[in-house]
Symmetry: D2
Subunit: 320 residues, 4 copies
């Protein structure tokens, strides 16, 4: 990798999350932020002005630029797939926010398109880039917690200010679906879930999901938009130790029979690490770690959970 | 109730737990401890000596005493039903430790016997007597947490020194089965569970159970003997607030959008409160709050969980 | 030491604390509880009945018994010295509760009397017997926290139900005076303190004390009866690590640059360990670890603190 | 106040802290960031480029600009007074970082100069702008904690990467000196302190300070650069309640006899609030809340603490 080479990047979607992308892409030494695009002209201009880059309201136009080598897509969930498709067709590398697509079928098409276009497709499973998550992964691999027995994840929030076209399973639980696949290094075989909507008119606003992996390991995932404040927690129980993570403070503990140990980490912004990984992967010609297939599998499990909740039955997962 | 009247009580089972019964029955002003019985003579004598009461190795003999009006039964789980039966036949009031019997069938017989004998039968669901549990119950009833959405319970321990003839579902999870029935004031309709045995040769040593109540409320219960140290926690999530309880410290929190509130309670020994309730119920001619039927229902749900884990299917519960 | 030999012990003072002494002396295999004495006959009888021992209202009478080899004294603070004197004159070994005497002068007399009578005199600095305190002592000695820089101690409570004839300095702070002497293995050279009485008519009900040891190490001690609930905490700051202790839960942490480590200890009742040490010391002919001199020094420092608070000046301590 | 009016601001000192000033002055709607100055040209350019403003290496030159109405000074502590003097002479309003000057004498001169120049002088006591500190102030004023008895403050850190020309008293403890004056709404009358240097060659690297206010209220302040990681805590003990603050997480608790209450606040960047207050004060012609006199008084108390530590005596403070 040439040390002076910088990846030319543009952003599609200039909302709260797009603005975070912009700040990080501006600060990273690996990337050169070229432009931002949003259908809402005021939003596009605001972010473009703050960081001194070009503004677009039509992504097709922006994608014509040669200096834009890669795009990050942070639009509303329901538009992610359409924008990813456009960007891949324009031969850009793509980092698409989770859940990547509206459904498994759409996700599959994007993966195939990326393959045909010989472009990298990364799905924004941000959580994997938290250093403490890497620490848990390492502990699991090294057997520091003995054999993994199960994990419980809690991702709950108060009612969101703006509610999109998706329920909590695809919006929140999908993170924990991905993280448990990652930590267990294993694929789920069965999903049983309960879900309901207290306030949301169309979609589920709370769900409890029990995912069973090969070899009987399980993950219990709670997600809702009803809890009075934000909680993001993970517990991994092994035969010898328990690890806990607070995603918000990034604090972890390793609890054994004799002690509780809380390593002190410098808190790092996972988005910065994710974008850095995306840029380095492309410039080094390596597949990013959170692939389109990871996105697809997470969506499949999310859909199985929704089906289980509708039918009151456990749903067996077919291998993809 | 006559203030000087004391209930004459004897204890069957002089192990660790029986000794606790003895100390409390000695200290309570409502009870007069008369005797303890254990097949192991040394154990019976040790407890009897410490508290200055009579020792027996044969419960049938002890049950012949007229001054013994009631017995508390703290033997091994597999003997509970047999001893309860003997005591009821001898026309004693009975407090039997959970899980009360080996199975639903046995439990049903004991309940019927108590009815025929016109004696009170109480099942030792100790957790209900913790003042903080009462505080949560009250909060739920008054709507302080809005509508109940779900509860999660975690009752995990290191490998027990002596392991009985039962797995974690009937030994540990049964407490949380009872507590969620109590707090939700509702009956489960469906149970889905996963369980396994890492170290135990015969019985499950870890289980994850998702219980669905009428109206879609759920309870997720984790129980194991694998965790490196003892954890006993409960979280009840409502539409407006979350309550948490640590059974060990008896600390609770009420978390709303604006604050976390932790009431300060004097820690009380739940066993003392339970035994006091048992004595007062009998002397006042009122049914104790944790009835034989509560024991029976908890057993039914525990058995459904075990069946679900065996069959990989959700099990519907028939009304008892 | 003969394994069957048990020390014959009697208790002077049958209040809340005397009752705890009785329970532990009954349970310990090293001691044989013979009698309890209290001027208040009802109290003496209540404790005596509970544990099946003799009751006295006149300590002189009880001290005549040959089988009483040692006494523990848990009367009101102002009577401690008088009862210790009687007991030593009767040739009993003595465990006297802190603060041992009303003042340095009285304390000195008791120490001399014990020497003349060839009897052991132990002062009840309970805190030293907490296993976690021993763990901190060990860490300090082994240099696990680098060089000790200072300690801060917080021993605060709500207004006591019954208030004795002493302020917070001699009642509460004296524990931390002793503990910092013990942990630092060093003697104070200067004391500066502020104290006042918000509610107490006669004595100080809050005090902040800064004690300077040889080599500039300091200890800051807060004590009061104003705080709405009980807090008992200690922090020891070293050049490489910080240790914290919660005396109530007995939890400790060792905080270094890289991590916080919380060893898990079995909670033990310090009073049991203290009484066991007292009995073993006597039966083995060894001086107990918390001597009369420790009591005297703690009193001297407490008195210096009170003098400093009165005079608004730092008080230099003369070597005893 | 004209809503479109923006205050023209420049920054002197483009180190870590100057960069934070720049980001906030850029983001605030009340300010227009014009230029940054640093003797180190690379630093000046780096910050200027990031935010699209002019760079200077000579503050005199920058101060000639008419559009610069106010400056914020974030240089090394030893240069603060010199730069503040220059800026005031150039008729700029000044926000100078604490400790404002090297000593009381210098501080006094700056205050007089500001008065003669009819310019506002604000001292950067950042901590006052934390919303939770305001909440504690409010609680104290409303009597929510009863009568204030004392406060303890702990501001400790690991060894700093770059060490300036000042010890912990003027660098760290000065914050808590200011905060306790602010919260108690009272002036200290006596200071007693111990300090020492474990590693620092010239200045104290640890100090324990007991400050006595009128009416016997006290504040105990711990400050050091020895502690293995950063701790910033405050406890205010009242006759009815205790309040605690963690400056890092901005979490507070209000502990009463019956409960612990932890209000949930949105974490806000105190620097942004401080700079906003500075700009609004100037534009509205009002004195900022943390005045030159506050800076002077804090310095006086800090110097008294250092004198006490040198002389082993309590130092009485003369009214300024």
């Amino acid at each position: 990798m040439d040390p002076i080479r910088k990846l030319g990047v543009a952003i599609i979607g200039a909302g709260f999350w797009g603005r975070n992308h912009a700040r990080n892409l501006k600060e990273l030494s690996e990337t050169h932020l070229i432009a931002v695009c949003d259908k809402d002209e005021a939003k596009a201009n605001a972010v473009a002005d703050l960081f001194g880059v070009d503004a677009y309201t039509d992504s097709s136009k922006m994608l014509k630029r040669r200096d834009v080598e890669a795009v990050t897509i942070c639009t509303w969930s329901t538009n992610l797939a359409a924008e990813a498709t456009k960007a891949l067709k324009a031969e850009k590398h793509v980092l698409v926010e989770k859940p990547m697509a509206n459904n498994v079928k759409e996700a599959r098409k994007i993966i195939e398109l990326a393959k045909r276009q010989h472009r990298y497709l990364m799905v924004g499973f941000l959580m994997r880039f938290i250093p403490s998550v890497q620490r848990i992964k390492q502990a699991v691999e090294k057997g520091e917690i003995g054999s993994v027995v199960y994990a419980t994840a809690r991702r709950v929030s108060q009612w969101p200010e703006r509610i999109g076209d998706m329920g909590v399973v695809k919006d929140l639980a999908i993170h924990d679906i991905d993280i448990t696949r990652f930590l267990f290094n294993d694929e789920p075989v069965e999903v049983y879930a309960k879900a309901g909507n207290f306030r949301h008119k169309k979609f589920e606003d709370h769900a409890q999901i029990l995912v069973t992996f090969k070899g009987k390991k399980t993950a219990f995932i709670e997600a809702n938009w009803l809890t009075p404040y934000k909680i993001r927690k993970l517990t991994v129980t092994g035969s010898e130790a328990i690890m806990t993570l607070d995603y918000i403070t990034q604090e972890i503990t390793l609890e054994t029979a004799g002690q509780t140990l809380a390593p002190r980490y410098e808190v790092k912004e996972p988005l910065k690490l994710e974008l850095q990984h995306f840029a380095n992967s492309i410039m080094n010609g390596r597949e990013p770690v959170t692939t389109g297939l990871d996105g697809l599998k997470a969506l499949q499990i999310a859909e199985a959970a929704l089906k289980s909740a509708r039918t009151d039955k456990a749903v067996r997962l077919k291998p993809l």
